[in-house]
């Protein structure tokens, strides 16, 4: 556990030592603001809730989360520091989790900085803060699952651009897997239970159930197990790829 935290601290400071962190935070905040007020029509809806804010999170994450995750392992492999890291007295698991925690904390910081919109809606009306809290939790969990996926893909390549593009594509598939766009790929040839399984993997659906404010346990378990599985695969990939 100690090592996880030491690695996470180093990674987190690495984000802030490059312009990436600031660029990301500014774009994320500007992006959430823009979609909430213009596309989501925050004022026009005349309702004291943050639905127009949260409903666009999956689409922002689609582009922004792979951008955070892409450097996690690709950069280590490109600069050769992976040889340094993996010969320090840490296990592969600790390194994988440490890096993931750093990226997740960073996302948490960006998400936390959207607090003015929460203050605004409370100033303007009387929203259900329980729902808002649940939505933040859901958003955080979804970001975590997408990050674990991005981290996993980052371990496959030493090229950050490739990691980003494949990460974004994979995120898109997981987000949309409940919709016809993705299900259509399987319909016709795959048995019904496969279809059902693919449909149940949809990040979008799980995120929506959480942000309805009832904090459904299955959705939380879904995201947490998604994180666990991705990080487990991530560690295997790191082990395998060291040799090449």
């Amino acid at each position: 556990m100690r090592n996880v935290w030491i690695i996470a601290k180093r990674e987190l400071s690495a984000y802030f030592s490059t312009p990436l962190a600031y660029v990301f935070i500014v774009i994320f905040l500007a992006g959430t603001g823009a979609v909430t007020f213009f596309i989501g029509d925050f004022f026009g809806r005349g309702q004291a809730d943050l639905q127009s804010f949260f409903s666009f999170h999956p689409w922002l994450f689609l582009v922004l989360i792979p951008a955070i995750g892409m450097r996690l392992w690709a950069e280590e492999r490109k600069t050769g520091t992976i040889e340094l890291l993996m010969t320090l007295p840490v296990t592969t698991g600790e390194a994988v989790v440490g890096k993931f925690v750093a990226a997740w904390l960073f996302t948490g910081i960006a998400l936390g900085l959207t607090f003015p919109i929460w203050i605004s809606v409370n100033y303007l009306g009387d929203p259900d803060n329980g729902v808002i809290f649940a939505s933040y939790v859901g958003s955080m969990l979804m970001a975590g699952a997408l990050l674990a996926l991005a981290s996993c893909i980052s371990a496959l390549t030493r090229n950050q651009v490739i990691a980003f593009v494949i990460g974004a594509a994979a995120s898109f598939l997981f987000l949309m897997s409940g919709l016809d766009l993705v299900l259509g790929l399987f319909r016709g040839w795959a048995p019904a239970y496969v279809l059902e399984m693919v449909a149940s993997m949809s990040f979008l659906v799980h995120f929506q159930t959480i942000s309805e404010g009832v904090l459904p346990i299955p959705a939380i378990i879904f995201f947490l197990s998604m994180i666990t599985v991705c990080l487990f695969i991530n560690a295997q990939i790191v082990e395998l790829k060291k040799a090449s």
């Binding site: 180093r10 050769g80 520091t81 340094l84 320090l88 007295p89 296990t91």
Partner: protein, 322 residues
Amino acid sequence: MSDLIEVESLSKRFGAIVAVDDVSFSVARGVVMGFLGPNGAGKSTTMRVITGYLPPTSGTARVLGHDIQKEPVEVKRRIGFLPEGAPLYGDMTVYSFLEFIAAIRQLHGPKRRQRILYSIERMGLEQVLYQRVETLSKGFKRRVGFAQAILHDPDVLILDEPTDGLDPNQKHHVRELIRELGKDKAIIISTHILEEVDAVCDRAVIIDRGRVVSNGTPAELHARSKFHNSVVLRVRTDAAPKAAKILRAITHVASVDTGAPQGGHVSLSVVPRDGRFIADEVGIAVRQNGIEVDEMHTESGKLDEVFRQMTVDREQILVARR
């Protein structure tokens, strides 16, 4: 348990390629072992296996009795490792990088501070402490890599080409450091600079295409050279043919090689049979025949020649096959 590093029939295969083939050696405390071989001979791979970065395909290695496969973290804790090219986190400052290493090496409190200060002072990093690593020169980066490796005062140091890319002063400094650290540690350095073997190593292991082809002291290596104990004379160019004829007649002389003329002089290498000591005989012959000699010395042997002899140039083999 005098051997801190024990490598036992270690092999590493990457698919069909055999990078390390049944390599065995051991290194005791107080010994600096030079690990030599042409590029791609398997030096780095062997080091990566010992440091626990790569798992061996077969065989094993032990560091202070801990098996690299059964207790990888215990092994890593006892090793200081400078990977090839000294990769570092470029986005960190030198000081924060050393702090990170100290934390992960479980150094706490005053001990942490003391070790960090020691490494900084040892490697002369005072003036760059708060610079980002990526802005440093190659020499400084290497020194940061070194500082990182000695930070926790490990019993075992593994240095992959520690002097590669350094200027002569820095090389000298690093060699001095290795010699000093080598007094109470077991050290493996890989290199393809042969003078380094004479300068710092107590033992030299040569590997070629993944196999150990020689394991001995530098003196033993020198003795393998055909120029071992040969006598080199510098004479005037016009006197050279006559002198060579006289020298060739001495018993135990295998051959006399004439070098390229330089400023009216030429050097003659008198090569003995079976590495015999022939300086006395050569001296007598020179005096008796009145050969004018500018300079005369005995060679201990040419390491680069021994190296070439043992690690046959692969390209030559390929050319020969065609």
